[in-house]
Symmetry: C2
Subunit: 370 residues, 2 copies
């Protein structure tokens, strides 16, 4: 692995010593020399191509094991021009959703014998949660892409919330992209996201089915893609069930717990019997308010959050919520990418919506049985 002088099997050298040296890292040449065959033959065995007899194959294979041979992937990739490697660019690895998405990508890669390399942009650490800094962010994305392309990745999966993905457009046609958990403005870049609308619809369905006609919404920020799609889903469900849509039951929040706390009395005042908070944090705020005011969530009020953060399962009462299909997002994103790579020219889907799972816990009157 470190720089070493070229090694020749000098017959005067004790064979065991020779092994000992080789233990570090044998090359295909040494392997060939050892078996007494050309390197081309060894290469064929290693890539199980035909044109080599069973016996030689066995010989090579066992020699490979004995000499602890490991192919030098740099050399292989250099020669073949393909690395069978995906680049993953994550906006922030330490954000709750990222590891599961990467996990999904990893499983897909493994099943199709690909590798991946990870690039962590650290947006949250660098910029906090502030939006803006677009040009700096773009620079980071671009630099990371350069790095990955230098390593000859066959494609790049971008995991993020903001669509800095647009920076990708400035790259050559030759680079394959897929967005996971976000999407680019460019429809030619496939994106895998979860279905906000359908999730919200099903949440509303659930609450309605439990007899709640007055459903309060602690929504997210107004300009958010998520907020708007979920609102749409809610309206759809209400319409389907012929329940009037009442804008007064909507409170726009900023995704923080504190805001959940402050929205709760407003909605309660307006007579809602259920509250759908668009993330678990705000739901926790509502829960706090109820706990402080002797409103028993799960009995006096049905409450459901969104995201399935760790807190939702450990709060008391345990919070019903919507689980994001993080693993699946990663898995399908990778799957699409690998299809792009392997089936060149075949059209890929532009945007894939994955279903969320509703997790019922105590806060909506668990167990639900209807």
């Amino acid at each position: 692995m470190h720089n070493r002088p070229a090694r020749q099997w000098n017959p005067t050298l004790d064979i065991n010593v020779f092994y000992a040296i080789l233990i570090t890292m044998a090359t295909i040449r040494e392997l060939a020399q050892y078996v007494g065959v050309s390197i081309a033959t060894v290469s064929k065995v290693l890539n199980n191509q035909n044109g080599v007899s069973k016996e030689t194959e066995a010989l090579v294979l066992q020699a490979a094991k004995k000499l602890n041979y490991r192919p030098n992937l740099n050399a292989r990739h250099l020669k073949t021009g393909t690395s069978k490697t995906l680049g993953i660019i994550a906006e922030d690895l330490t954000v709750f959703n990222t590891p599961d998405i990467i996990d999904g990508i990893g499983v897909c890669c493994e099943s199709r014998s690909f590798h991946y390399i990870l690039g962590n942009l650290r947006f949250d650490k660098r910029f906090g949660h502030e939006t803006g800094n677009a040009e700096q962010k773009n620079r980071l994305v671009l630099d990371m892409m350069d790095q990955m392309l230098s390593k000859q990745v066959d494609g790049i999966i971008y995991i993020g919330c903001h669509s800095h993905a647009l920076a990708m457009l400035s790259r050559s046609e030759d680079t394959r992209f897929v967005c996971a958990y976000c999407y680019s403005e460019d429809p030619s870049i496939p994106a895998v996201i979860y279905d906000d609308r359908q999730a919200a619809r099903r949440v509303t369905d659930l609450l309605l089915s439990k007899g709640h006609a007055k459903i309060g919404i602690v929504a997210g920020t107004k300009d958010s893609f998520h907020t708007n799609n979920r609102l749409l889903g809610i309206q759809e469900s209400l319409y389907e069930h012929s329940v009037p849509y009442n804008p007064h039951f909507i409170c726009h929040g900023d995704w923080t717990r504190d805001l959940g706390y402050r929205c709760a009395p407003v909605l309660l005042e307006r007579g809602v019997t259920a509250i759908f908070a668009m993330n678990d944090l705000m739901a926790m705020g509502v829960l706090d308010y109820c706990n402080h005011n002797h409103i028993e969530v799960g009995r006096d009020l049905a409450l459901i959050g969104f995201d399935n953060r760790e807190i939702s399962s450990v709060s008391r009462p345990a919070l019903s919520t919507v689980a994001l299909p993080l693993f699946e997002i990663g898995h399908t994103a990778a799957s699409i990418m690998l299809d792009m790579i392997e089936k060149e020219g075949v059209a890929q889907p532009s945007r894939i919506l994955l279903d969320c799972a509703i997790i019922e816990r105590e806060s909506t009157g668990f167990p639900s049985a209807n």
Copy 2:
């Protein structure tokens, strides 16, 4: 990036067309040809070695930018025999501590212009939390190591809890290892872990300073390294403050919330006024018990956990706890590894203990001011 035919700058070809082709990925040869200089010269510029005039340097540099040149790292690494890349093997990426450790490694790597590749073993997903399966786990570790060594990493950082790290020993002398968040039996492998003992000592100091002489302990499993070291720390603190150590104030748990719940009444019964739970989950269990029994944590009972999980900050009352230096563990592990690589032969520390931070919240009577 894909296989392409060799490109020659044919002077009859319109130069702009030539650029357009090159945009995809120029080689050093094409760059040299474009500037009208040898590839050796270009290489020197790119690696800012001397022996090239300012003018040519500028020329090459601007051509590189114009042709969108990116060095092929596979070729470079092949030639140089070093990849300036660390391998990170993580037992499970989705476990709460892993991403921050990787973040730390990443920052260190970046500052010293190294790269890393990540290998996720998925132990938790594959095996659940059960111990055992040692031979399967070792196989996974070994396979991952093979993969990484194939990619010519300069060293491997292992992130895990169990010391499967011992499997590493079967590897050649030539591979550099560092353990993060765990340690190997082999003292020659540097390990970076947090200081359980000192953390527990400081927790005890804190509780004593707040006037609690009867401190209940919800300990972890008996065989655990963490449990025992923390117990030692507690005893040290008590000894220093001449407070008797009472074994009846210790309840051994299994790290689960439920067990915290069950230990609480036992300890309370014995008259403790403070409880130190050895993880946040068990502390939550204690908190549950208190909430159900109208014991006001933070006033009637001081409670502190360990790990600084997300739950601790969002529970009500917010839980005081011990924050693990995850980022620092990653950062120092990487730093040691890079020292090993760059300062060959210089002895590296065998085991580094990093301090935890105590986070005081409401459950110990926040704010503390003494």
